[in-house]
Symmetry: C2
Subunit: 295 residues, 2 copies
Amino acid sequence: MALNLSHLPIKTRSFFCNSSAQPVSAAQNASYWSSIDADINTYLKKAIPIRSPETVFEPMHHLTFAAPTTTASALCVAACELFGGNRTQALPAASAIHLIHAAAYTHDHLPLTDRPRPESKPDIQHKFNPNIELLTGDGIAPFGFELLANSVDTTHPDRILRVVIEISRASGSQGLVDGLYREKQIVDQRSRFEFIEYVSKKKYGEMHACGAASGVILAGGDEEQIQKLRNFGLYAGTVRGMIEMKSGLEKKNIAQIEKIIIKFQQLAMKEMEGFQGKNAELISSLVTEPILCPA
Amino acid sequence: MALNLSHLPIKTRSFFCNSSAQPVSAAQNASYWSSIDADINTYLKKAIPIRSPETVFEPMHHLTFAAPTTTASALCVAACELFGGNRTQALPAASAIHLIHAAAYTHDHLPLTDRPRPESKPDIQHKFNPNIELLTGDGIAPFGFELLANSVDTTHPDRILRVVIEISRASGSQGLVDGLYREKQIVDQRSRFEFIEYVSKKKYGEMHACGAASGVILAGGDEEQIQKLRNFGLYAGTVRGMIEMKSGLEKKNIAQIEKIIIKFQQLAMKEMEGFQGKNAELISSLVTEPILCPA
């Protein structure tokens, strides 16, 4: 469907569609994010080799990489680089975010008797039995905190501690876990949009907010910068969550959810207004969804 | 059964039995440990009130306190006090250890299709459905890291980070999770003792080692003191694990496992040799098991 973006300021519109007016090309953009993903992947492969005891480390290695990547991790690196930090500083935190996400993904696909599983969400292929998958998830999550606490940046232990708090909050009962709780609830149509917004915020938004804020904290950004990037992450993650969740909606409801998506895209862009340069544009591109920009 | 302890040095023997020769009485001893447990409990009750959203916090509160207390938490406080630290300094770490333990306890009792459950280990009463219990465990564990990172002792962020590493290691794939993996394996009689020793070390020993080491780190102890208490915790936790696991053994095998238990008790006591005073005796009493000292 073609969206009417004429109500948006030109600057915002350019981020929504990969038009030629966009200073950062779609190719540059894709290459930036995939280079971050590759670096996180390399870091994690080195951190979790298949070693003894293999009964423990083989599933840990496998399930860490079986989960799809999350832009919350990449946003952590990008936000750190935006404020002059280097990539190495952000990789442990970005990897910790991926590990929390991978643990949640593993547990989210555990076969439990009381889980309604909609047809639109087919089960994944399980390489290990449920007990191993449960325990591996339990082992993966704390390992992220270990990587983080072992960070190279020992000159700023206070920043690392702050990021520990960011990640534990976003992954716990006031963030990801709350989102996953609600996701399993059966809701009526009336509250369906509120439900999608709430789950998207908790399941995706909070992790992106955490990623963005953590990146700024590690780079030594000030409180205002941390807050702006946190807000950006919350909106951008919520947008990404809603885009994922709208696939299960009936066609007549899609237009309404897209209105909410555009609202959050605008809010996200507003937070980035004060920041200039290539890195700011690359980060802003996270709220550009190809699904809203059909060629 | 009456154990022959005549092969042990007098000093060691006095810790094994609550004889009148023991400077710290059984009553003082019990009162010390229960005062620590009460303080951890109070700290956690304040940290996890039943608040909104209740769908999240009620199971979190319930499952945190449904798990039995672990002496690994109490040992963290006691080790901190032994080296002149105060209780308040150690409560967040001790509580984090309890939360990791409570999350593992919750997940260990989740109904999964592939878990052999021996008759000696009856299922617990489940207040919530499996999905909620799974997610609550996932929310409880990172909250421990949040409490720790938010610790009052902001003058020593490096110590807190070290404790984050201690706790994530002990709770992850090289500690508790490994122990829980192995526990579910079916072993033949030949390797039964090695199995009990291994699982006890991983499931109980590592968490006690972590508790003890963390307490010393927080109090500002030196590396030698940290190592001695870590070793003590490893042996003491392994002893406690083996005592718990031996209940499932046939009578003819109990004498053999008790020999191994005594070996670890002696090793534990050896680590405490250099430390004097009431607190050192209270800590040493952790390896005194009433089951080995029938009146």
